[in-house]
């Protein structure tokens, strides 16, 4: 099945952001994931066609980056940081309890298609360790129980909101569309900064005291 003419028009607008069209491969791949849920064959073929490349050239790029998936993600894609700092502080325990709870392993999706899991590397939120990302939104200071509750709430259709992010968690496809550069208008939601980000500022305002 072909992409709709409206979708193809969006692809053209993505290409127009760059001085050279090939630079649009990455946002186009994010956009394909927003529509299809992963990098599909039709996605590869369409990108190759509109950028005048061989499909092998597009696949070479797609297979290099871990965010591009070769099979569908769950509606809620849960990444548990297992890089050293988060792992030591409890990321390993969170990951183990989550796999037990869901009965799936790394890169797998629950049978209902709701939740997939991934062991992720450092996500630049170490002052909120242990960190879990859902659809690449921040869930700070997690515990094994809080993450079990989080995935249960997602499977029940009412996911808990991110700690620093929009007031309602969007789906994996919807967030992939944001990464393709399509503004969803939610930038104003959520805090300016979390409490750890503000710690030094507040100590400074208190004359060096906490």
């Amino acid at each position: 099945m072909k992409f709709t003419s409206e979708q193809l028009k969006i692809m053209d607008s993505i290409i127009s952001r760059y001085p050279r069209s090939r630079s649009a491969i990455m946002p186009l791949l994010h956009y394909v994931q927003a529509i299809d849920g992963y990098v599909t064959e039709r996605g590869i073929e369409t990108i190759a066609e509109i950028l005048n490349l061989a499909t092998a050239e597009v696949t070479a790029v797609s297979s290099f980056y871990t965010q591009y998936r070769s099979e569908p993600a769950g509606e809620y894609h849960v990444g548990v940081c297992i890089n050293t700092l988060c792992a030591v502080m409890g990321g390993d325990e969170i990951y183990e309890s989550l796999t037990d709870h869901l009965g799936i392993e790394n890169h797998e999706t629950t049978k209902d298609g709701k939740v997939s899991i991934e062991r992720i590397e450092c996500n630049a939120a170490c002052d909120y360790a242990p960190v879990v990302m859902v659809n690449w939104e921040f869930y700070d200071n997690q515990t094994p129980q809080s993450v079990k509750d989080l995935v249960d709430s997602a499977r029940a259709g009412n996911p808990r909101p991110p700690t620093r992010g929009p007031s309602k968690l969007r789906t994996w496809k919807e967030n992939s569309e944001v990464l393709a550069g399509l503004n969803d208008g939610l930038a104003h939601e959520g805090v300016s900064a979390g409490s750890a980000s503000l710690l030094g500022l507040q100590i400074s305002k208190n004359g060096g005291r906490q």
Partner: protein, 433 residues
């Protein structure tokens, strides 16, 4: 006692700090107005004279980088901001962009004007959707306000700014891999020379700067060189963000003059968590050799950290207490480098796999003393033998941990496995919380 100096973080506690109104209310975009009345070369000279050095890890003088761009060459020039923040432990640019994306945009306009670029890019890691939203909205609002696009501020200067999401590859934080990625290829480092200043994006003269470096520019333009140089040490001028994480009572961001010590930061942050002691720490991410409690008073500036055998790096202070097994920590970092090696250079691609295999055995108590020599020999054949610094980073935790904790490796062998209680190093104390 060194005092904190919130500049970049000064207004993060305002509810609308990330909006254009919020930024303008605290003096935002005044530096652009000033810079656009200066000659571009004068802007470059001012940043050179300020002593601002790259905040992304290498510490290269920002103004000098700008000065390397050949002028009058009739070629397009590009400014590319490295917002791929992925070095383990590093968490300063993402909160900065979430709380104040406009200070980066203001710095980009000034930097692009100085190097005569009419198109700039922000390469933002893809795994931070809400940060992406904030930056994207800020760019749209800056366009609407006439701060981007044609004839900025009525001064005849044009600038396009494109936000680009990465897709999960640590290597794209390396500037030439980032450029390949931005051109639409696999993100693999390039052989240098030519350097990006001569042949960067699309083989055109290009400056690649870290988020924090560029975001520091407006404050320097507004407040002047003397103000900037009052902070910091002889060769490491100014303020910077230190990110404290791990086994401390209060992790967080601390903006301070370069040269503050970990002892001072820990004192401000309420110290190591109750009942525990500092064991080892990284001064600037996992690629910077480990320090121990002997290094609490090292000035955290480029020279001080380097003289003590490590690197200032990204100023990511990851703190581990005595409950942490150093072999486990190093193995996990090694698995990271193995996963993130781009595969271009054989010593890194193959060597990181060997490192992980050996460390696995050592952690499981199956190693021997001879293996430690073999491990170091392997490191010797990886570091400095690849295109980029990923390989050097991969061996840094191994070599430094063997220097300070050699016996802990052997203890695993004597014990027939890891002697540490893993749960003790978590923050929940008991499993199932």
């Amino acid at each position: 006692m060194t005092k904190l100096t919130p500049v970049l973080s000064a207004h993060w506690d305002e509810k609308d700090s990330f909006t254009i109104e919020g930024y303008k209310r605290v003096g935002g975009y005044k530096a652009v107005t000033k810079a656009l009345t200066m000659e571009p070369d004068a802007v470059i000279q001012m940043i050179k004279d300020s002593g601002l050095r790259g905040r992304g890890g290498a510490g290269f003088p920002t103004g000098s980088k700008w000065g390397f761009i050949p002028q009058g060459d009739n070629k397009e020039h590009y400014l590319v901001v490295n917002a791929d923040e992925s070095e383990p432990g590093t968490c300063k640019d993402m909160p900065l962009l979430m709380a104040n994306p406009h200070v980066l945009i203001e710095g980009i306009i000034i930097g692009s004007y100085a190097i005569r670029a009419n198109h700039a890019f922000i390469y933002l890691r893809g795994e931070v959707v809400h940060v992406f939203r904030r930056v994207q909205q800020a760019i749209e609002d800056a366009y609407k306000a006439g701060l981007l696009g044609k004839n900025i501020g009525g001064k005849g200067y044009d600038l396009e700014l494109t936000l680009h999401a990465g897709a999960g590859a640590y290597i794209c934080g390396e500037e030439t891999a980032l450029l390949d990625s931005l051109e639409g290829f696999r993100g693999q480092p390039r052989l240098r020379p030519p350097f990006p200043a001569i042949a960067g994006l699309y083989a055109k003269p290009t400056v690649v700067n870290n988020v924090e470096s560029i975001a520091s520019v407006p404050a320097i333009i507004n407040n002047g060189i003397e103000w900037f140089q009052e902070m910091g040490t002889e060769k490491s001028k100014g303020f910077t963000l230190y990110s404290l994480s791990g086994h401390v009572n209060n992790p967080g961001q601390f903006e301070a003059p370069l040269g503050i010590t970990l002892r001072e930061i820990l004192e401000l942050a309420g110290g190591i968590r109750e009942g525990h002691q500092l064991k080892f720490w990284t001064p600037g991410g996992s690629s910077t050799p480990l320090f121990t409690d002997q290094h609490l008073d090292i000035p955290l500036d480029y020279e001080g950290v380097s003289a003590a055998g490590s690197m200032l790096g990204t100023k990511a202070l990851q703190i581990f207490d005595e409950t942490t097994c150093v072999v486990r920590a190093v193995l996990r970092w090694s698995e990271f480098y193995k996963h993130e090696s781009c595969g271009k250079c054989t010593p890194c691609r193959e060597g990181t796999w060997w490192l992980v295999q050996m460390l696995h055995d050592l952690e499981a108590g199956k190693g021997t003393e001879a293996d430690l020599a073999k491990l170091l020999d392997l490191c010797d054949n990886i570091a400095g033998r690849s295109f980029c610094a990923l390989a050097d980073g991969a061996v840094a935790p191994i070599i430094s941990s063997l220097k300070y904790f050699r016996d802990e490796y052997l203890e695993h062998q004597r014990n027939g496995g890891c002697p540490f209680d893993r749960v003790a190093s978590t923050i929940f104390k008991t499993v199932g919380v």
